[in-house]
Amino acid sequence: MNVENFPGSFDSTVDAGLEWLSDNGSGLFDAVNDVLKGIYESLLWLFNLPPYYVVAMLIALLGWRLAGPRFAVAALIGMLFCAFIGLWPETMSTLALVVAATLMALLVAIPLGVVAGLLPVLDRMVEPTLDMIQTMPPYIYLLPAIALLGYGTGTALIATFIVALPPAFRLTSLGIRMTPNEFIELGNASGVTGWQMFLKIRLPFAMPSIMAGINQSLMMAFGMVVIAGIVGSGGLGETIYGAIRTLDIAKSINGAIAIVILTMVLDRLAQSAAAAYEGKRP
């Protein structure tokens, strides 16, 4: 093989591989796409069920309970602002995208993180993959996804899912591993079973770390969901991308403001939920 021809032949190999995958796995990928869309659309349906001011009120109420009255007022004003600039439907689809992708990521990352926390071997095996995911520019994940799932929500969800995976996994694994030794001894000296050790001792000590992981995954998902506008994710990401292409500065700034508001509201809610968990006693 000639060195000068190598880039070309490498590219064509990759292309052939992807083509083979989409030819032979089209059934599978269509199914994956349908499931992803299903999750997203059910969430979106749910968020669009009540009128915008009811959703805004609900978010404010939740904020009141978790973070106090000042945050509740700020969240209410912020959410209503999103509606008044005419971006309510987009805000809700972004929310649905983020929530769907984060939930899927947590469903995989937390159980896997728990196992890795208990089995250092698994942790050592998974770590390089996570390092890779976190060092690569996030929009890289759009490319294989778009090749296999096509333009649309499914691709956006998969890419967001991948990016949201590492923080929750890492912090769950860390939390499970970091149980203070004296409590492990206490458990053993009290005659606990393996399950009891996990549920009654390791998990409670890991909770703050797991909560921090959930919050970080959520923030990563927000970052990705804007980038995923390029592949037709719908929502604010696509609004901003479209506005930039047509040089509609005002609209792109509106979209950016809505994203910032939504991110801040969710971040505070998640942080307050974690704090409320840790401080659920007086």
Partner: protein, 372 residues
């Protein structure tokens, strides 16, 4: 040793030449010890392994508080963890109520730990997200005791340690001394026969420590429990222990009552340790007295029966009080109506110094038995 350890009723815990060697090559190091009798230093050099516990034999009898005293690094914390197999011995046997721990399967070992051997830690290890009551009920919860019942038992245990009013609080609202009481209540709630105490009071200030020592001793005796108590404080060992084992470099160098150890230290190391200990309440009349026949021979004109008398187990403090009150320089020791000896001023002063009378005494015989 082998015959006595079969006496399950009186020996609750026993160790038979137990070793613990830490390190990656611990198995080979152990083999080398058995085959070639390497020393601690050689093992560290040749196998880069650390000897934690070295050839320990001990017996904890029913109803006694057995103190293990040693400085940090002496292996005492390792030794206590061998007694409930938190650490597995490299060689030798650990028996709890006649059953060898290493022969038990996982479920049996859990049952032994849950029901027969409780443990109290220096760090207390109260779960921060549980109330005092829930912490106390932890052992029972693990055993699957229904909630209402275990909380009732836990409350009773907290009442015993004087914390009945604190059940709803969280650990960080309690002082160090109170936390340690919760630790004790948690161990008592599971009603084990043996309680392992791993330096529980070391981190407390002196007054609270004394108070807890007295309470612990009283409670243990009242409930008929046996305890193995680890400490680096000889005063604590003397206040608490029915018997004391002194540990150094992973070995037990002397076992005996406080009086035996103070009067007849096994070596210079122990002697140095006990040098600063006040003898006044430790040394008993029959350890310092001159046998009556010898006294009569030396003082033919003293009528022994007219001397003030003291029982043989009275301590030096009491005898000094007697001598001062009666203004006499000799006190007779009366055992079951018979005068067995006389304590002269010389005997008394030697006793305060910590030297037994040179003329054969029960203590010497007891020591001879122990060391044989």
């Amino acid at each position: 040793m082998a015959t006595t350890s079969l006496d399950v009723n009186n020996v609750l815990v026993s160790c038979e030449s137990v070793w613990k060697i830490f390190g990656e090559n611990s198995a080979e190091a152990m083999k080398a010890v058995v085959e070639r009798g390497l020393t601690k230093k050689q093992i560290l050099q040749d196998y880069s392994c650390v000897v934690g516990v070295s050839d320990v034999n001990l017996e904890v009898r029913r109803g006694e508080i057995f103190c293990i005293m040693g400085l940090s690094g002496s292996g005492k914390s390792t030794l206590i963890r061998l007694l409930n197999k938190l650490i597995t011995p490299s060689s030798g046997k650990v028996l709890v109520k006649g059953r060898e721990l290493s022969s038990l399967n996982a479920a049996e070992l859990r049952a032994v730990r849950a029901r027969q051997i409780g443990m109290v830690f220096q760090s207390v290890a109260l779960l921060p997200h549980r109330t005092v009551l829930e912490n106390t009920a932890f052992g029972l919860e693990v055993q699957g005791v229904p909630k209402a019942e275990r909380l009732k038992v836990a409350e009773a245990a907290l009442t015993k340690v004087g914390l009945a009013d604190w059940t709803k609080r969280y650990p960080d609202e309690l002082s160090g001394g109170m936390q340690q009481r919760v630790g004790l209540a948690r161990a008592l709630a599971a009603d084990p026969e043996i309680i392992l105490m791993d330096e529980p009071f070391s981190a407390l200030d002196p007054l609270i420590r004394r108070q807890l020592q007295d309470e612990f001793r009283q409670l243990t005796k009242e409930l008929g429990k046996s305890a193995v108590f680890i400490t680096h404080d000889l005063d604590e060992a003397i206040r608490l222990g029915d018997r004391i084992a002194i540990m150094k470099d992973g070995m037990i160098i002397q076992v005996g009552t406080a009086e035996e150890i103070v009067l007849n230290p096994a070596d210079d190391y122990v002697a140095e340790f006990v040098a600063g200990i006040s003898r006044l309440h430790l040394v008993k009349a029959n350890s310092v007295m001159t046998p009556v026949a010898l006294y009569k021979a030396a003082h033919p004109n003293v009528d022994v029966s007219r001397l003030p008398t003291t029982p043989p187990d009275a301590d030096l403090d009491h005898i000094i009080g007697l001598a001062v009150a009666n203004d006499r320089d000799a006190i007779a020791v009366m055992d079951a109506g018979v005068i067995t000896g006389v304590i002269t001023m010389r005997d008394l002063l030697r006793g305060v110094q910590g030297t037994a009378n040179e003329y054969a005494h029960p203590v010497d015989q007891a020591l001879a038995e122990v060391s044989s």
